[in-house]
């Protein structure tokens, strides 16, 4: 068991492109030619990448920031892989950046920051929708969630 864990530890490496953890560099996702290179989903941590990947709806590529902006924790833009993300967007022909960041203070601040840095690069910037959960009722939602749902309203087809 310990030997197996040690072997895993020795083999796991960080993907130099997206920041994912895998046995190869580039990782299996970045090496997969069938993935849609026009879409780049930006997440905070590797576990967020795996969560989106498990859901199976996203067929583009990822970029792991390695955290989120938090002045109180001493994490600024230079501590995150933001420069690498901007370079990839320009070099890989990305057309849409999906900001898959948490709905926390820091996650939303980071999303806003990235959206502003991506302005002028000619890419569409989108974020995960926030609001009424599947199966949810309006009268159980707090004001913040309800306001987010209102802002994210769309034509009823």
């Amino acid at each position: 068991m310990i030997r197996t864990l040690e072997t895993c530890r020795a083999q796991v490496r960080r993907c130099s492109l997206c920041g994912n953890l895998d046995a190869t560099d580039p990782c299996a996702i970045c090496s997969d030619g069938s993935r849609d290179g026009a879409s780049l989903c930006v997440v905070e941590e590797v576990e967020d990448l795996w969560a989106v990947e498990r859901a199976g709806f996203f067929r583009g590529r990822y970029h792991v920031l390695g955290g989120r902006l938090s002045a109180l924790d001493g994490i600024g833009p230079d501590e995150l892989r933001i420069g690498e993300m901007l370079a990839r967007v320009q070099a890989e022909g990305v057309q849409e950046v999906v900001l898959g960041l948490g709905a926390t203070v820091e996650g939303q601040t980071t999303a806003h920051y990235l959206a502003e840095r991506l302005q002028g690069l000619g890419v569409a910037v989108t974020g995960f929708g926030r609001g009424v959960p599947v199966g949810g009722e309006l009268n159980f939602l707090d004001e913040g969630t309800l306001a987010a749902a209102y802002r994210a309203r769309r034509p009823f087809a």
Binding site: S70, A71, L72, V105, T109
Partner: protein, 388 residues
Amino acid sequence: MIASASAPAAADAFSHPPACAARRLQLTGFRNLADRRLDLPSGPVVLYGDNGAGKTNLLEAVSMLAPGRGLRRARAAEQACNGGTGGWAIHAHMEGPDGPHTIATGLEPGQERRRFRLDGRDVAAREELPGIIGVIWLTPAEDRLFQDPPAERRRFLDRLIATDDPAYAGLTSRYERRLRERSTVLRSGRPDAVWLDALEAGLAADAVAIAAVRAERVQSLDRVVAAAGGPFPAVRLALAGELEALLEDRPALDVEEAVAARLQASREVDREAGGASIGPHRSDLVAIDAETGTAAARCSTGRQKALLVAIVLGEIARKRQAGSLVPILLLDEATAHLDEPRRQALFDRITGLPGQTWLTGTDHAPFAPLRDQAAFLHLHRGDLADHV
């Protein structure tokens, strides 16, 4: 030691839900009360005893059953009894609007943050306890509420709101975190303008949300307390502040943009002075004696106390009208500045409430009119005994 308070002969107050009451309290290592167990009625409880007997400590223990820092705003580590392990616990059998619950809270020795358990499982208190327990209090510290800095009045108002709005405490703490984040970035050697833009956008959205919740609450409370009659004076309440003025005649989304622009323009000033130049942290709760038109801060000490009690009783009446949970009411030395008619009126109102009210005083005599409705507990140096 076990103290069984004599239950009131009247019908159980929980024939009028929703309300809550602590029916049994088990204290471990808490302040000078150390280890105590109390069985309690659902109606009024009168605690009496000399100064320093532990009356406020017991009220504080009840206040700690709800999220927040309790009525003394003490750090959890300060609440441990002297000579103990440094930890403490409060376990309560509660009567809630939907039936009985157990709520436990405490501090593990060596930890900084207390934990909550609801019916035996760990919970996030701010999310799961509102609706099951709420606690409102008036202590001698609030006697100067109208003369204190606006921050005290905002805290008082926010506490009233948070007892029945689970999302509100989260909203205010998120706003405060964003303020601290912005101050930290502003004070850094090279403030990142894009980072500040992002923080200020979030601040502006939270600022407007907080102001909107407060405005709704103050308006609905004002309708109740402005119409009050009887011994307690009618009060007019309003919120004052630049943000509130903007919201009076502009849509919320416009105000969000205006606040973000103001924050951006005031970065240099805010870096020097600290804080932020606009936001709900600069608003004030204004109270006016409706009968005389006098600002509450300029009224006599007794009149201010009467206004304050009127606001608290008005908030409970408002909660009842709205079908919200009637909280436990803790009144520490609340009768001290009230004349006889108002004291009697307070007792009448308390005995008519569906929830539990705790009152304290150095002597039991002023509470004599409650002798058939309330349980009387005598405290002496942290020891509890039934009223004889």
